[in-house]
């Protein structure tokens, strides 16, 4: 697998322009614009309530923007539903684990493959050869993903029974099952211990090598600084800064927002 060269000269995979979203009178997103090149890991940081999760919800189509647009892979997403966006290649994980608790890990990953498989009601009832073949291929692919994320041992355990660290990884496995071009990770390291966080960093590197572009919300700065090629800082719904981790570290506006004016 060849990963696109991180950085320049490529058409952006995601281009957000003048995105605005109001909740009541509050501007949760205020005229946000940025673009992300394919193959990079982009960190999204900012204090609580800065609008990071709202931005994810706008990109995935849970909310629709009041103004501005999200262009994904060259296509305007304005009229696309959530599932159409997943089909187009946007996948996500949640801040608080949202696995299907009563289903096994393997089944969770198989549900993640929903948009890439097609058998429906009649397929289920008739079990024609193509349905059986599709199911077999799906299981093989799901197992490969569990192998890749190091969760194969838990394939047949109910997802709700796993420790939080494994559940976080499992969400990534499920998101990868839809063959995303862009993967949005909402605080993947929240609730993880130091060892698990390190493993997560390695996993993200591995996913990057597969050519998946990632955006992640992260509070763990050492993790974020280590794995991100680019960072965007939000504060109270507006973009405060954008640049390489080093640039962000030395940005005065960012320092002020984090440490308070003074």
């Amino acid at each position: 697998m060849i990963s696109p060269e991180p950085g320049h000269n490529n058409k952006p995979i995601l281009a957000v322009s003048s995105l605005t979203k109001m909740f009541g009178g509050v501007k949760a997103q205020d005229n946000i614009s940025f673009s992300i090149q394919p193959g990079i890991v982009c960190g999204l940081i900012g204090p609580n309530g800065a609008g990071k999760t709202t931005l994810f919800n706008l990109i995935t189509g849970i909310y629709s923007p009041d103004e501005g647009q999200v262009v994904f892979n060259g296509k305007d997403t304005r009229k696309m539903t959530v599932d159409q966006r997943v089909r187009a290649g946007i996948a996500r994980t949640f801040q608080h684990v949202e696995l299907f608790g009563s289903m096994t890990l393997l089944e969770n990953v198989l549900v993640g493959m929903h948009v890439r498989t097609r058998s429906g009601f009649w397929g289920a009832v008739t079990r024609l050869p193509w349905v059986i073949r599709e199911e077999k291929e799906a299981v093989e692919k799901a197992e490969a993903l569990l192998e890749f994320t190091g969760l194969m041992d838990y394939a047949h355990h109910p997802a709700g029974d796993l420790p939080v660290g494994r559940q976080k990884t499992a969400e990534i496995a499920r998101a990868l099952a839809s063959d995303p071009l862009l993967l949005l990770l909402d605080e993947p390291a929240a609730g993880l211990n130091a060892v698990e966080t390190e493993a997560l960093g390695k996993l993200i590197e591995q996913v990057k090598k597969r050519g998946v572009t990632m955006m992640l919300v992260e509070h763990d700065m050492s993790l974020a600084m280590g794995i991100c090629d680019k960072m965007i800082v939000l504060d109270q719904g507006s973009k405060l800064a954008e640049g390489t981790p080093r640039e962000i570290q030395n940005n005065e506006a960012v320092m002020a927002a984090y440490l308070g004016q003074g």
């Binding site: 009601f121 289920a124 009832v125």
Partner: protein
């Protein structure tokens, strides 16, 4: 090397896991078929045969509703409407117009599915109480239609003159034949439900029950899926209505009223939501109880209510799950 060996062992374990499940399902089906055969062949008493046939018809209703409530997590308080639509469609087509009942079965299913589509399209966008209210209203409207459209349905005095089912030389007049017909259909429906649940569609369905937010996010078109299951459960209801109409040969609006809808929901809840056998258990209990409690007919509703309360307090997952948990606990204690 060790890792490889571990991996191999794991693969084999998983493989046998899957096979175990398959074998378990086969055994369950075999036991089910044996019980049906024994009950059908050795029961001489027509009253008992009749009760067991009703259990079969109610099982079909509970199976369909269980897919909707137990798996898709959607409540319907008007499901008796589809039961009634199935019964009246076949009654009118085969009774009034003399069409072959088998053809009218197809029409009954078609009508129920079509109505479910039209009703479900807006209603399933509602959720929780609102969906309950929406389906409740739908059930009432359909029931009023049965009652008031007397030139076609016979009104509140009922519809007389439904033909007996026949297939070639076999007449389904006899209690035994009808028993096997109904339970054959139940077996088919159970297999169908299980196939659906094990498929891509079933996984998506169960995922809605576990967390709709996440299933939307992974790209499941939840609204469309709920609609499909609503249509499927409506079609099972229509089949049950068809079997009911040609069994009792006389139908009236009371058999498809609000209380019947509530009874259907009770079957699913008591038997255990999200369990195929739970539907069977719930249907059996709620069909048998009124027969057992014949002497206290006035208190029937009180007893029903009490049972529902006790089950909800002590076994909120339903009897099937409750008994399984008790069994697991007892087994663990012994070890």
């Amino acid at each position: 090397m060790y890792a490889l060996a571990d991996c191999f062992r794991l693969k084999r374990q998983n493989g046998s896991d899957m096979d175990d499940n398959k074998i378990k399902n086969r055994i369950e089906h075999a036991v089910f078929i044996c019980i049906i055969l024994v009950l059908g062949l050795f029961t001489q008493n027509t009253y008992y045969l009749q009760i067991m046939t009703f259990i079969g018809i109610n099982t079909l209703l509970a199976l369909g509703l269980n897919m909707l409530i137990g798996y898709a997590g959607q409540i319907s308080l008007g499901h008796a409407a589809f039961y009634g639509i199935g019964a009246y469609t076949t009654a009118i087509l085969s009774g009034t117009f003399g069409i072959s009942p088998w053809l009218s079965l197809l029409c009954a299913i078609g009508v129920a599915v079509l109505i479910a589509f039209v009703v479900g399209l807006p209603t399933l966008r509602l959720s929780g109480y609102y969906l309950g209210m929406g389906t409740l209203g739908f059930g009432m409207i359909v029931n009023i239609l049965f009652r008031e459209w007397s030139s076609v349905t016979g009104g509140s005095s009922g519809f007389v003159g439904i033909p007996v089912l026949e297939a070639g030389k076999v007449s389904f007049m006899s209690g035994q034949n009808y028993f096997f017909l109904v339970w054959g259909v139940v077996l088919g429906a159970i297999l169908m439900c299980r196939r659906i649940l094990a498929s891509r569609m079933g996984r998506a369905l169960r995922s809605i029950h576990d967390g709709e937010k996440a299933s939307l996010a992974v790209g499941v078109n939840t609204h469309y899926l709920k609609l499909q299951i609503f249509m499927f459960s409506a079609s099972l209801g229509a089949v049950a209505g068809f079997l009911y109409a040609h069994f009792v040969l006389f139908i009236s609006p009371e058999s498809f009223g609000f209380m019947v809808s509530v009874k259907m929901v009770t079957m699913v809840v008591i038997g255990g939501m999200a369990s195929v056998w739970g539907a069977l258990l719930g249907a059996s209990l709620l069909t048998l109880l009124p027969e057992v409690l014949h002497g206290f007919a006035e208190y029937e509703m009180i007893v029903f209510g009490l049972i529902l309360m006790v089950v909800m307090i002590f076994m909120p997952q339903g009897l099937t799950r409750g008994f399984l948990d008790m069994y697991e606990k007892a087994r663990k204690k012994r070890q």
